[in-house]
Symmetry: D2
Subunit: 483 residues, 4 copies
């Protein structure tokens, strides 16, 4: 797409694929609202007080229908919002159109190039000359990373007059980041520094447990079916990794009638797989007899081109981990004589010259549930996103109180339990209430939290406070240590 910003009649900026899909997007947003009771409860509880009045929020998070409900919850609470996606394939164009038309500045479309992706990220962060956003909703940390790298470059430039050099790195994507920063630097050598000064905090939509397990259990078969229409029953499926994502994937495949084999490095997770009747083997053990391969490890270099060469004709290879380095796409692309046949967008058949057999790679090795289907369903995202809203509210409310230092915080357990409780009514559940006597017996407050912080979190969103001052810590680690 031509990289020029467009404007709505009201003057709000955007860049989306097709504004005519806005009506369709609106209808699906309305459906999703019914499935997202946590967000709707936030609107009901906090909307009247307009707590985000005056707050500028930038989001870098898959621009889907569910995210649209999140965005409109933020705006319903008074925020001004600019948004980009955090994955080149994950935008739903009708969702982007509806939000761009009705609610917020959106820069996102399905099938961005990496160049376009970072242009969108920069647009989402650019709130004009007075600085960047007050708050960031990040997923994967790319928005935060851009500020971080920008500040670093501006500091070097201020001290040495030296511009960042894209050719200093082999990483193609990082070259793009450096180019953007370099080009911006010439025009405004304090842009990212001003952003840093203004920024109150970031809440990071990185989750574990609940949404990974149940979301992937839903969206893995959905992606497989939409991309390939293949019958899962009777097939041999290999799930690489048996963390929460892997558990969700393995459960879905097993329930659909596949014979599931798990690869694992952790003996405890391996035992868990065995207890469910799953075989635990290495990828090498099974590479030539399986029909479906799914990577879920959060690690890199899981399925290499040398594995793919040995697979059965039309074996399906896909990734459902956040980053796109689990499957060796580079090795595949560079394999001598390999031929790529695009069946349809996000579904490619790669044919090896020696055998003239091919494998089916989904979403170019990126998140297949977002690339080939619509990601986690609304109900799951409602849990995660309600946590995000609450984290943003907390950061904004306490921005000047000193309650949060410059560090990474996990959302407190009682808020996690509150978010869960907001979702029970939709499913017709009745919670049991502790008596005082029982609460005392197990040493918890009657109203919770009932468990220690690390126990089975619903959705471990966390947040970073930047305390309003000096340099800030980046989201460099998961404080919970979850995979």
């Amino acid at each position: 797409m031509a990289l020029s910003v467009e404007k709505t009649a009201a003057g709000r900026e955007y860049k989306v694929k097709d504004m005519s899909q806005a009506d369709f997007g609106r209808l699906e947003i309305e459906l999703a609202e019914v499935e997202m009771p946590g967000l709707m409860a936030c609107r009901a509880e906090f909307g009247p007080a307009q707590p985000f009045k005056g707050a500028k929020i930038t989001g870098s998070l898959h621009m889907t229908i569910q995210t649209a409900v999140l965005i409109e919850t933020l705006t319903a609470l008074g925020a001004e919002v600019r948004w980009c996606s955090c994955n080149i394939f994950s935008t739903q164009d009708h969702a982007a159109a509806a939000i761009a038309r009705d609610s917020a500045a959106v820069f996102a479309w399905k099938g961005e190039t990496l160049q376009e992706y970072w242009w969108c990220t920069e647009r989402a962060l650019d709130w004009g000359p007075t600085g960047g956003p007050d708050l960031i909703v990040d997923d994967g940390g790319d928005a935060t990373l851009l500020i971080h790298e920008g500040v670093k470059a501006e500091e070097v430039y201020e001290k040495t007059g030296q511009l960042p050099d894209p050719s200093s790195t082999d990483n193609a994507e990082f070259q793009i980041v450096l180019t953007i920063i370099r080009d911006g630097l010439k025009a405004d050598p304090k842009k990212y520094t001003r952003m840093k000064e203004r920024l109150v905090g970031v809440s990071e939509e990185t989750t574990t447990g609940f949404d990974n397990l149940y979301g992937c259990r839903h969206s893995l078969p959905d992606g497989l079916m939409r991309a390939t229409d293949v019958m899962i029953a009777g097939k041999v499926a290999v799930v690489c990794g048996y963390g929460d994502v892997g558990k969700g994937c393995a459960a879905a495949l097993k329930q659909a009638g596949a014979r599931v084999i798990v690869t694992e490095i952790d003996p405890i997770c391996a035992l868990q797989a065995l207890m469910e009747g799953l075989q635990v083997l290495t990828l090498e053990d099974v590479v030539s007899e399986a029909d479906i391969f799914v990577t879920t490890t959060g690690n890199k270099d899981i399925i290499m081109v040398n594995h793919m060469r040995k697979m059965k004709n039309n074996a399906i290879v896909c990734n459902i981990g956040h980053f796109d380095n689990e499957i060796d796409m580079l090795g595949l692309e560079n394999y001598p004589g390999v031929k790529r046949i695009t069946i349809k967008p996000q579904t490619d058949r790669w044919v090896f010259p020696e055998t003239n057999t091919g494998i089916i790679v989904l979403a170019e090795g990126r998140l297949m549930n977002l690339g080939c289907a619509t990601g986690h369903p609304s109900f799951v995202m409602s849990c995660s996103f309600t946590n995000q809203v609450i984290a943003q509210l907390e950061l904004w409310k306490e921005k000047a109180t000193g309650k949060y230092e410059k560090k990474v915080y996990v959302l407190p357990k009682h808020l996690d339990e509150k978010v869960a409780a907001l979702h029970l009514g939709k499913l017709g559940a009745n919670l049991t209430k502790l008596t005082k006597d029982q609460a005392d017996y197990i040493s918890v407050p009657i109203e919770g939290p009932y468990k220690p912080p690390h126990y089975r979190s619903l959705c471990v969103g966390w947040m970073v406070s930047f305390g309003g001052k000096e340099t800030r810590p980046l989201l460099e680690e998961d404080p919970m240590g979850f995979e």
Copy 2:
């Protein structure tokens, strides 16, 4: 669409939605071939001998990618083929385009009107002045019905000179059938009679057991997800009917995490549901608390507008039985003040004026797995369709031998077992072989059949021989009595 026949460069007739989708269709057909080992085995075994040389075959069967592999198996065995779909929503336009371009005369597109539907059926039967097809592959019996009604009308006309009167019936669809016959009669008063004379037999793709159970287990959640993206886990789902279709649907919903409630009339099927931990209640018991309703009964008038009025906001209502009379669409459309909002094709929200709440109806009450997804997966259809090929071969081979009388035959058990065996290799299975001693002990031949005819058929396609003479029996009953 304008109802005019088009022609390929080679002169073959067709009418499809968009010929430019032929390449895409071809790629998906090639994928499907790998998943349809039974059909490919037929090509390998019978292709060289060209047993269908000279045979004209008309098909009336969902014009999908899988059916494309069936059609090209028939042509690979020497047949000439004309095809229409047996459901107004079930055509996959890229499949139709690929077949129209490459292999057979196709008259089908997704979203036909009833008028268009019967025009297509007539086109598929029309092989020119020398008569109709030699063989019919039918699904639901519409092609056979048209001949039957045509012959009846021609007989009346010959005796009395009287033309059929469309206004003699209340049934809107049957009015269309009579109109087509009436209009044809004037031009050619012996057309259907000549068809009857020529016709050797029909094989009917009406199945039970294997493909209903496993096919629906796959395609019900697929259709739900593509149409609504709704999370199934945690929801209350009502499955009306617990035959094979219902069993497949209930299993899929339960495995996806729904709480499933079954309605049944048959106490034995009800007991089976209970044994799986499913609740058995009446629709009235649960109509206002469930989230998803699926009809699978094969009966009519299952979910009436008075039920729909009482449902929760955004309850999903869909049908996966063959005919579209399980859900009271007429009652819904005529409900005073009801409002229909089309979210996307095949997904409508109907809003009731009293409550201003709506329900989501899929595929206008027709087969939701074909209307909203891609129907049964290739592997399942390979079993059914291989049976069809074998039935057609048998009818054609024995057309003059008198082996088959003018009546309905179920495919013999040993062919059923053979078809199953053709599908085992793809899934890596090793069958155990009986010793002579063991075979004698249980009184079966070593090579099978191992079970009596009615025992757990793979796919009870049946066939009708017309014996080459005089009036023929129509497919008026399922000789197996299956639901």
Copy 3:
């Protein structure tokens, strides 16, 4: 045990293990009554009219708690009853004691020798000099067989004066049968002929489907746990045969967390296993890597001593098919140097001399669910046994009407459905009722039967009418052809 008949104070004959267990048996019978709503409904419906008044019934059927409720249903309807077990391990001694004390003549104990077994069978048939029973409830046909062989011998003896010669057969068990007949012949050369004359009919408790599937799903893991306490999760289990018994076993093992491998001869059943994610291989493929082996085939010579030699140390080998010829016990016993270590009754470790490793054989290769646990649970047996009561009632009611000829009948479908309906209330189910219009549409009566005779029977008990005259057909074949 010393083979002498004992008598209660009231003069009724019996031979059981330990009369002091009668109270315990009575308590468990009372529990079972609550779980057997079909039988209790028979007592309520038919008891007042005493339809069995004057009928003498002999039963040869596992003498368990559930059978006790059957027996007391027969007596509650007016019958006089004599009973033996149809398996040397299946008697529950407390059940036998309670019935012997309170209700009927019982000859049965857990752990009979074959000699004792046939003595008990003869006792159960012996109603004194006026002839045998009016009706037989048989399971496996041994009671009927004894009459059949007895009549044959008496006919030969009458014609030739020749006595049966036990040494004429290699089969050890049949030698015992011939000996009993020979010894009886000398005392009374017309005993079995008189029995034949008197006998009205037999109902055979041989079932398929419902009770095999759900009963074994319950009782297989129960037997495994009671016999070995082994953890099933994580183990590799081989199920030989995937009929209804095999399906129940495989489901139970899979659900308990085992990885299940199926062996099959029938490609359709093999496909069904694959569709559930089970691997289908031959026994030879997996004999040395599996932990648990279960035979369910109804065939013979399934697991031979040469298989057992290759198994892992402490592999568990058991049979849940009716007959004890699936596992090669003879081969095992005769294996040179093999050592048998009895862990506890019905749980033996057999150690092979070459490897000094052993396998665990349950119930000496006989029905492990009856030998090691308590068989099918009451609720399942209530379905089967209610069918038996209804069959007996029908035979007795029509004994002089000529309604039934000398042949084998399957219970009519509407009675099968009635029995199912009697069991729904206990599980809280509400059946849906057809409207007249719907019933007409699918061409069934409103009140059923809803399905053709062979469709998914609840419990295919069948009955043999002997028409009150001349020679009678024996139960030599399953008229349904089920495995």
Copy 4:
């Protein structure tokens, strides 16, 4: 039983039910060894060095076959051992006999009175005049409690001359504890103080996660079947609490075909239940319609007599949580006119006078899986017990090094992973190995630990070091905060 100590020929003390069961116990111990690869690996790795040489270990832990393998692992490593059970119903008498005869001093039998229970505990702690054990393996903390209370009493007595007064408490069991201490005090006023001085540490077999989930999934249905033979399929089962124990129970019941309803106080656990298709309601909502009730909460006062009064006839009520205060047994016993009918040991029917209907209570409200079946299977216990052995080794090895202070420690993650790894081979699993590059990428050592300490522990045994000096902390809290 008469409470007198007996002695083996070799002079070792014991008190068990029936020494003649020792051979049977030995056979089952040998079977269990094959299922407990972790313990056998400890014998192989550590046995030769005899690291426990000179150590006196007291255990208070269910005296089962599995515990026998633990005890003989401790003795194989050089320890001297005295043992009692930690539950009045959980001893397996044949296990106790085998150990008493062959390996260690045992004071335990199935069905102890509370009086007997504490006598056994005292015997297990009594190593003669030189003080108590060097190490304790505790489960539930009763052995540690007795020392704690003893020291407290001795301190008071030393200061004030006052003896503990059993009548000072309402708690019947604590009265017994005080009586024992009081009676001992007169004879030896420094006994518990000397024990305290000597004690190096305690490892507590209180676990979470792995063994609760998989162990209860196995042993709950086992206990139900052995106690009641009831068919689980089709029943409505209520599981109170959805922690790991509840999850295992609910999974087992669902898989066996029950309809499962969960009660929960924690909204996150409630959401998890809903995601599995389970209904979440309060006990009051369902008390009168369910068939089976299981308490798993770890809390108290869950099922009260007022609930039990409203249950269906023959509803089954049982507890699988550690303590016996989840079911209101006291309220039941004291209910006016209630009648208790013992079906068999651990299976009682309680009949209410108003309705003359009864409920079935298992194991008198105590751990039903140990009371009615054989507890967790060997493989599960091997994981827990291998952790115990490793904890004991660590405490003993570091007794003088000061590595551990007087506080509670959770076993380090790498040992937890090691224990898991020892169990993979038995199940045929192949672990994947990280490359250096991958390990660096996710910031873990190649050889693990791969997860943070609190992540999905295999078995959170913990240990208390007493540092060899002064007063010691008691096990008053679970440092992990798990339910």
